[in-house]
């Protein structure tokens, strides 16, 4: 499947992937401090385990540490 991650086209194996697996597969830094937006909507952390990402989805990772 092909998804968009932070504006970049990304190719992944399989047809669906849950958010924790995606964070691991993409080796996302400090996963406990990242907010995840799926197709423009912030996903609650308590729903990470049951939220699936599939072909054509757009995912944004956002940290609140930046800047100073």
């Amino acid at each position: 499947m092909q998804i968009t991650v932070n504006g970049e086209e990304t190719e992944l194996e399989g047809e669906q992937i849950k958010i924790p697996e995606l964070l691991e597969k993409l080796d996302v830094d400090m996963p406990q401090q990242v907010s995840v937006e799926l197709n423009g909507e912030v996903i609650s952390r308590s729903n990470f385990d049951e939220t699936s990402i599939s072909d054509g989805d757009s995912v944004e990772f956002l940290y609140f540490m930046g800047g100073g």
Binding site: Q33, Y63, M65
Partner: protein, 410 residues
């Protein structure tokens, strides 16, 4: 060969570890170089994670924040320069001019000064209530109230907050319960389990535990939905559950500059390794002393939540895992007698702190509560004849001998 006169100012050799270090490394760097302006832009925009500047974040601070998050069972934490910085940053994140907070009247003197003297200058009103009257908290909340604040065991008043009852009230009014758990630590109590929204510690005290590192922390327990606070709605749409921590970091740490020193975080991480052992000994020494001293003829009143005659004993017993902390207070009749007692101490230090390895004693009315007027002191349970002892890790028999001998000189 490098030119000895030319390169030294740029020379920061990397450390290579072979094996896992037994202690968290101290990263004392002020700033962190990135590969490119694109990378800096991505971090500033929040698209990538990275440390940039130690006022904002730092690897040693991040390690402590993760440890505190795990100990409290929260979703994230921020470290601050002190416990007072943690409380101030929390209030300034949740409330604005025209808002109010509802708080127990039995508070640490510094917290009381912040709420009663400083916050009103910025338009934030504090409503003080007796902590054992939860109904009064309920009555004091209105549409502009942004939080309930209490200490688990008040210092130096030693009243115990009914966290379950207060969490229910906070939930009814859709505001967070903010709990200062400095004197209880996660070993006695994890406020997240009772429904608290935020836990605060002065890590200076029992968390670091050795009297060598001033610091504070704010832990988001994860149970409160921040979209219910009008000031955090926008953040919520961007960061979800992390909205509060994002705003707290921007206001309290990045903008007000109340960050913790990485060196202090490193010492605090070292102290945490012995938290369980230390707290058990603090509590055991305190309970034994309280039981030993309760009938001493020079003591008019001995106050310790572990004694069955303490008004909050049953609640403390239920909430705090059969441990009652390391602070006890006693009334000796007059201020003069208190000073005679304090002057007769040798092992126990005249020192304004709690949670160190050594025992210490003070006269609260002339020190940590000096700024308060008589009515405020009375509401907090601070009288002119009160001595506070924070019991350390010394041998119990030596402590008992020291206190009894000093009392006999009164």
């Amino acid at each position: 060969m490098n030119n000895p006169d030319g390169q030294e100012s740029h020379f920061s050799p990397d450390v290579t570890y072979r094996g896992k270090p037994s202690a968290t490394p101290l990263v004392e760097a002020t700033a962190f170089a990135r590969e490119s302006p694109e990378e800096l832009e991505a971090i500033f925009a929040g698209r990538e994670f990275g440390h940039l500047y130690s006022r904002l974040s730092n690897p040693t601070l991040a390690a402590l924040e993760q440890r505190l998050t795990d100990l409290e069972g929260g979703i994230g934490a921020a470290t601050t320069a002190s416990g007072m910085a943690a409380i101030a940053a929390t209030v300034l994140t949740l409330a604005r001019a025209g808002d109010s907070i509802v708080t127990s009247q039995e508070l640490f003197g510094g917290t009381y000064s912040l709420f009663s003297r400083l916050l009103p200058d910025y338009g934030i009103e504090s409503r003080f209530l007796p902590v054992r009257r939860p109904k009064k908290f309920s009555d004091a909340i209105d549409k502009n109230t942004r939080m309930i604040f209490v200490e688990t065991i008040s210092n130096p008043g030693l009243r115990v907050a009914d966290l379950n009852a207060l969490a229910e009230i906070a939930s009814d009014y859709k505001i967070p319960l903010v709990v200062d758990s400095t004197v209880t630590t996660p070993l006695l109590f994890q406020p997240a389990k009772e429904g608290a929204g935020i836990v605060i510690h002065s890590t200076t005290k029992f968390i670091s535990g050795h009297g060598d590192a001033v610091g504070g922390c704010v832990v988001d327990c994860g149970g409160y939905s921040w979209d219910k606070n009008p000031h955090l709605k926008e953040n919520y749409s961007e960061y979800g559950e992390l909205a509060f921590l994002a705003e707290l970091r921007w206001r309290g740490i990045r903008t007000l500059g109340a960050n913790q020193s990485p060196a202090n975080a490193r010492l605090t991480l070292r102290g945490l390794k012995t938290l369980g052992t230390r707290i058990k000994r603090h509590c055991n020494n305190s309970l034994r002393l309280a039981k030993q001293l309760r009938d001493h003829p020079e003591i008019k009143e001995l106050n310790y939540p572990g004694l069955r005659e303490h008004p909050d004993h049953e609640l403390a017993k239920k909430q705090f895992n059969n441990r009652y902390g390391a602070i006890l207070t006693m009334k000796l009749g007059t201020k003069e007698k208190c000073f005679k007692f304090l002057n007769a101490l040798h092992l126990i230090k005249n020192m304004v702190n709690i949670g160190d390895t050594c025992s210490m004693a003070i006269h609260p009315a002339s020190t940590i509560c000096r700024d308060l007027d008589p009515d405020e002191k009375r509401a907090m349970g601070v009288t002119e004849d009160l001595v506070r002892i924070c019991v350390g890790l010394e041998d119990y028999e030596e402590l008992k001998k020291e206190i009894v001998e000093a009392l006999n000189k009164v």
